[in-house]
C-alpha cells in the first residue's frame, strides 16, 4: 500500500461576503485546490443564520504542505490586522498521495 503523507489542513471560517477575497488570496499563492462548505453559526458579531447573503458563513478547506501554509498564514495574518473577521485553523493531517507522487516515511501501517 501507498504510504500516508503528512500535510496540513487549513480551515478558514468566515462570512460568505469574504469568500472571493480568500479564494483570490489562495490563487495569488498558486493554490488552486480548495473545498467550500456552506455554514451558519454565531460569534462576536452575532448570529449568522445563513438565510441572507449578508448573513451566511462558509468553511474553506485547503490541503497543503507546511511550506505553502506558512506563506498563506502571512496573508491571513495581514487580513486579520486589517480587521477582517476570519477564523484561521490549522490541523495536522495525513493524505493518501496521488499515483506517482513522492511518498514520505510517515505511514499508518
Amino acid at each position: 500500500m501507498r504510504r500516508l503523507q503528512p500535510k496540513k489542513l487549513l480551515t478558514i471560517i468566515t462570512s460568505r461576503a469574504i469568500e472571493k477575497m480568500i479564494i483570490e488570496a489562495l490563487r495569488k499563492r498558486g493554490v488552486g485546490g480548495y473545498t467550500v462548505v456552506n455554514a451558519s453559526g454565531a460569534g462576536a458579531s452575532g448570529i449568522q443564520s445563513g438565510m441572507l447573503d449578508s448573513d451566511s458563513n462558509i468553511l474553506i478547506y485547503v490541503i497543503l504542505s507546511e511550506a505553502r501554509l506558512i506563506t498563506l498564514l502571512d496573508d491571513f495574518d495581514d487580513m486579520m490586522n486589517r480587521s477582517y473577521r476570519i477564523k484561521v485553523v490549522v490541523t495536522d493531517i495525513s493524505i493518501l498521495p496521488r499515483k506517482g507522487a513522492a511518498t514520505s516515511k510517515n505511514s499508518v501501517a
Binding site: 462570512s15 460568505r16 461576503a17 469574504i18 477575497m21 456552506n38 451558519s40 454565531a42 462576536a44 458579531s45 452575532g46 448570529i47 443564520s49 445563513g50 438565510m51 441572507l52 447573503d53 449578508s54 448573513d55 451566511s56 495581514d78 490586522n81 486589517r82 480587521s83 477582517y84 473577521r85
Partner: protein, 333 residues
C-alpha cells in the same frame, strides 16, 4: 390616522411576517431552508425588475421620472452625509460610516411591501421606481467607504507605526474596487438585468413570465416574509451593543428621511404613489446588499450594529408602521 391605512396589516404576506416574529419569539424551530430564503430574495428582485421594466416600456420616458430619480439620487448622497456626523458623536468613524451607508442605501423588500400597500389601496406608481431602487444602492456605499478611508488615514497619522499596513488597506480598496463590488453585486445586477429584460420584451413578451413573476408573487412574498419575521425576532433577542442612541436612530432617521422626500416630492408635484415609493426608499435601510459590500470594504465596522439595526429595527418598523404613516403624511400635505 384612519384605520384603512393599517388595514394593510391584514395583507396575508404581512400576516406571515407576524407569524414569523411570533414563531421566533416562542423559540420555535420553524425555519425556511437557507437556499430557499436566498432563492426567494432573488425571485423578488427578478419579479420587481421585470415588472418595472415592462411598465417603463409602456410609459416611456417622461419629465416626472427624471424629477423622481433626481430626488432619489439626492437622498442617496444626502443621507450618509448628514447621518455620518450624527453617528460620529457616539461611534468611531468605521461604524459611523457603515451605518451611514446602510441608511443611505435601500431595502428591496421594504420597497416591495410599499408596492403591495399601494396595490391594496389601488394607488398607482411609476415603473421607474425600480430604477430608483437601483440607483439608490451604490452612492451611499461609495460615500461611506470614502469616509472610512478618511478615518483610516487620520488613525494612521496618530499611529505612525501602523501606517504601513493601513496604507496597504486603503490601496487595496480603491474607489474602483468599491464601484466594481457595488455594481456587480448579485442583487443589483439581477435587478438591473431584469429591468432591462422587462424593457426589451415589453408587455407581450411578459405574458409568458407572468404566471411565475406575477401570479406567484404574493404567495412567495408571504413565505419570504415569514422567514424575515423569524430573522427579525431572533436578531432583536441577540442585539448586543445597540444602545438607546442607535435604537432612536433606527426609528427616527427613517421618518426624517421620509419627511424630507415627501416635502421635496410635493414641491415637485409628484403623484401620491411615486411620492410614497420614494419616501419608503429613503426611509429604508439595506440589510442584504450593503452589509455584504461593507464587510469587505469597511471590515473594521461591526456587522452586529449596521446589519442588526437595519434588519431588526428599521425593517419591521417600516413594514408595520412606517409605510402607513408616510401614506398618511402624504394625504395630509
Amino acid at each position: 390616522m384612519d384605520i384603512k391605512s393599517f388595514a394593510t396589516l391584514l395583507d396575508p404576506a404581512v400576516l406571515f411576517f407576524f407569524l414569523g416574529i411570533f414563531a421566533a419569539s416562542v423559540r420555535s424551530n420553524l425555519e425556511i431552508p437557507a437556499p430557499i430564503a436566498k432563492f426567494l430574495s432573488l425571485y423578488l428582485l427578478m419579479a420587481i425588475g421585470i415588472k418595472g421594466g415592462v411598465a417603463l416600456s409602456v410609459s416611456g420616458l417622461h419629465v416626472q421620472m427624471l424629477v423622481g430619480l433626481g430626488i432619489a439620487l439626492f437622498m442617496a448622497f444626502f443621507v450618509p452625509l448628514y447621518t455620518f456626523p450624527l453617528l460620529r458623536r457616539k461611534l468611531d468613524g468605521f461604524n459611523a460610516a457603515a451605518i451611514a451607508a446602510t441608511y443611505g442605501s435601500v431595502s428591496a423588500v421594504t420597497f416591495i411591501a410599499a408596492g403591495q400597500f399601494l396595490d391594496n389601496h389601488d394607488v398607482e406608481y411609476g415603473g421607474y421606481m425600480a430604477v430608483a431602487l437601483v440607483i439608490m444602492e451604490a452612492p451611499a456605499v461609495i460615500m461611506a467607504v470614502a469616509l472610512a478611508a478618511m478615518t483610516r488615514a487620520s488613525l494612521a497619522k496618530q499611529d505612525a507605526g501602523a501606517a504601513a499596513s493601513i496604507g496597504k488597506n486603503s490601496s487595496t480598496f480603491s474607489l474602483r474596487n468599491i464601484l466594481h463590488e457595488s455594481f456587480t453585486d448579485g442583487a443589483i445586477l439581477l435587478l438591473m438585468g431584469s429591468l432591462l429584460i422587462g424593457v426589451i420584451v415589453g408587455k407581450d413578451g411578459y405574458q409568458v413570465m407572468k404566471p411565475f413573476t406575477g401570479d406567484l408573487f404574493k404567495g412567495l412574498l408571504a413565505f419570504f416574509l415569514l422567514e424575515m419575521g423569524i430573522l427579525v425576532a431572533r436578531r432583536i433577542r441577540e442585539m448586543k451593543g445597540v444602545g438607546p442612541f442607535l435604537i432612536a436612530f433606527a426609528f427616527c432617521i427613517p421618518v426624517l428621511n421620509a419627511v424630507i422626500v415627501i416635502t421635496l416630492s410635493q414641491l415637485a408635484g409628484l403623484s401620491a404613489g411615486d411620492t410614497l415609493m420614494l419616501a419608503v426608499l429613503a426611509a429604508s435601510a439595506s440589510y442584504i446588499v450593503v452589509p455584504a459590500v461593507v464587510r469587505v470594504a469597511i471590515p473594521e465596522a461591526n456587522p452586529g450594529l449596521y446589519f442588526g439595526m437595519a434588519l431588526a429595527l428599521t425593517f419591521p418598523f417600516n413594514v408595520v408602521l412606517g409605510i402607513p404613516l408616510y401614506h398618511q403624511l402624504i394625504q395630509l400635505l
